[in-house]
């Protein structure tokens, strides 16, 4: 099949093309990569590190049983729930601020010209830099974390929403004009459904960023969450648990991204 043919193939074809065997091989390769990662971890802590050295304490041989114990106990799940709630609130705030802002910037060349340099500037500052200010303004607790997560997550949502608006089919807008649509009708019946794929793509990026920023955010001034739990295991010198929590963070992040991809596939196929 030539490149040109693939470009014109209907969506149904793409699922068929790799075939069941192809997908199985794909998944097998992924598993092999994960196994290699595990082997490297094991080699670094058990083969290369000297007998009795500090590094040995991070061995998968200790971490995996610790993980099993954590997963069956209640503590880990409390921290996971707290962390997920924070990410959810942060993403909700980022959507509330980011979608309207993206709509404005996508719709108005003037707004775009005015906002782009400022956004590029703000986007490049690690959200963690605002931590002291956030704590000063919002006090200790969940509020500064919500703020920091929203601040980290808002940019991909703004930029993708704006890109979606710019790529709206002008014929759709002409159609809604010819039907005497009100501004609200144009927004809710044409623009928002028309940019859904872009917004969801922005949301997926935002989920990834939030999850990465979350852990360091939770290392300051709070008493629960996965970031707090990491420091807690360190303070208790429970290094096998520390490694186990790191595994948990990776797995949940992976699941979040997979979930976001599934949502995009379901509600905005092809974007």
């Amino acid at each position: 099949m030539s490149v040109a043919d693939q470009g014109r193939a209907p969506a149904r074809m793409r699922v068929v093309t790799p075939g069941f065997g192809g997908r199985l091989a794909h998944a097998g390769l992924g598993l092999a990569g994960l196994a290699l990662l595990l082997a490297l971890w094991w080699a670094a802590t058990d083969l290369l590190a000297a007998e009795g050295s500090f590094a040995r304490r991070f061995s998968p041989g200790d971490a995996l049983p610790a993980l099993a114990a954590l997963v069956t106990g209640p503590d880990l799940w409390t921290h996971v729930a707290v962390s997920l709630k924070r990410v959810l609130v942060g993403l909700g705030l980022a959507l509330l601020a980011g979608v309207p802002l993206g709509l404005l910037i996508g719709a108005s060349r003037l707004a775009e010209a005015a906002a782009t340099p400022a956004f590029q500037f703000l986007r490049m500052i690690s959200p963690l830099s605002w931590m002291p200010i956030a704590v000063l303004v919002f006090g200790v607790g969940d509020a500064p974390i919500y703020f920091l997560l929203a601040f980290a997550a808002v940019w991909p949502i703004v930029l993708n929403t704006a890109a979606g608006v710019r790529q709206l089919n002008p014929h759709w807008l002409l159609l809604s004009k010819s039907l005497a649509a009100t501004g609200w009708e144009t927004l809710t019946r044409v623009i928002l459904p028309g940019i859904l794929g872009h917004v969801l793509t922005g949301l997926r990026l935002a989920i990834g960023i939030s999850w990465i920023v979350l852990v360091p955010c939770e290392m300051l001034g709070v008493q629960a969450g996965l970031g707090y739990f990491i420091l807690d295991t360190r303070d208790r010198l429970a290094y096998e648990q520390l490694m186990a929590v790191i595994l948990v963070i990776g797995v949940i992040g992976y699941l979040l991204d997979t979930g976001a991809r599934a949502v995009i596939h379901r509600f905005a196929p092809g974007s």
């Binding site: 759709w172 002409l174 039907l179 005497a180």
Partner: protein, 256 residues
């Protein structure tokens, strides 16, 4: 102002901001109920601009448009416009696309049952009942254009304004669509202004042909075609009009 006209334009002029001269000047039209008028002209002459003015999407710089004798001010619920691009919304199925806009605040208020009845009738009229739950991506070009026509019909338009609606279709599909247009206008007791650059399309479909030419564009020729349809049996008569049209076009574009 003639009493019988459903859509009337008198001395309409349009000039785009910054353009050296107007695109349209002194354009007149009297569209009778049930009538199909083709506006024929080379590309770039101003046909699309004219249709946008007639539809109320674009305000003219001079002159007036009237629907049933009432001056047009912005888009009108009983004027339906369709373009070469069917502009179907990909997130709605065919039925959703045909129903699109019927429930808008500034459209005539209809009960849910009335809306559904109109949608059903419009989809049946264009022969797409079997495809009513398909998404636009699954429709062929001809089916998509039928769906766009059905979306116009669901509004029970007094006048259909069509801007080269069949321009992107293959010849066989286009012939089907031309026949469908004639049937639709009769069934819905509507009238139509069909913009086209295809002389044969104009000859096969119209009761009247207006030839647009010059810059600014004005009507440089007008032909009434009182032949029954389908017109394929009247090749000789149509051929004579065709020659007149081509001749008028050639005289208009000949350098002075």
């Amino acid at each position: 102002m003639s009493a019988g006209s459903t859509l009337q334009a008198s001395r309409v002029a349009l000039r785009y901001p910054g353009a050296a001269q107007p695109v349209l000047a002194d354009f007149d039209l009297d569209l009778a109920p049930g009538e199909i008028v083709s506006v024929l002209g080379p590309s770039g002459v101003g046909k699309s601009s004219l249709l946008r003015v007639l539809s109320g999407l674009q305000a003219p710089d001079a002159g007036t448009i009237a629907v049933d004798g009432a001056a047009l001010d912005g888009v009108h619920p009983r004027l339906a416009i369709a373009f070469q691009n069917p502009a179907l919304l990909p997130w709605l199925d065919l039925e959703g696309n045909v129903a699109f806009g019927l429930d808008f605040k500034r459209q005539p208020q209809l009960s849910r049952a009335e809306r559904q009845a109109r949608v059903d009738r419009a989809i049946a009229e264009v022969g797409l009942t079997h495809a009513r739950h398909l998404r636009p991506a699954a429709l062929s070009g001809g089916m998509a254009q039928r769906a766009a026509l059905a979306r116009c019909l669901a509004r029970q338009p007094q006048v259909l304004l069509l801007d080269e609606p069949f321009g992107a279709l293959d010849e066989v599909t286009r012939a089907d669509m031309q026949a469908l247009l004639v049937q639709i206008v009769a069934d819905y007791r509507s009238a139509a202004v069909l913009v086209t650059h295809d002389i044969d399309e104009a000859l096969l479909v119209s009761d009247r042909i207006l030839l647009l030419g010059g810059a600014p564009a004005r009507t440089i020729g007008e032909w009434r075609i009182d032949l029954p349809r389908p017109r394929e049996d009247f090749v000789a008569e149509l051929g004579r009009i065709r020659i007149e049209i081509v001749g008028t076009l050639r005289r208009a574009t000949r350098p002075h």
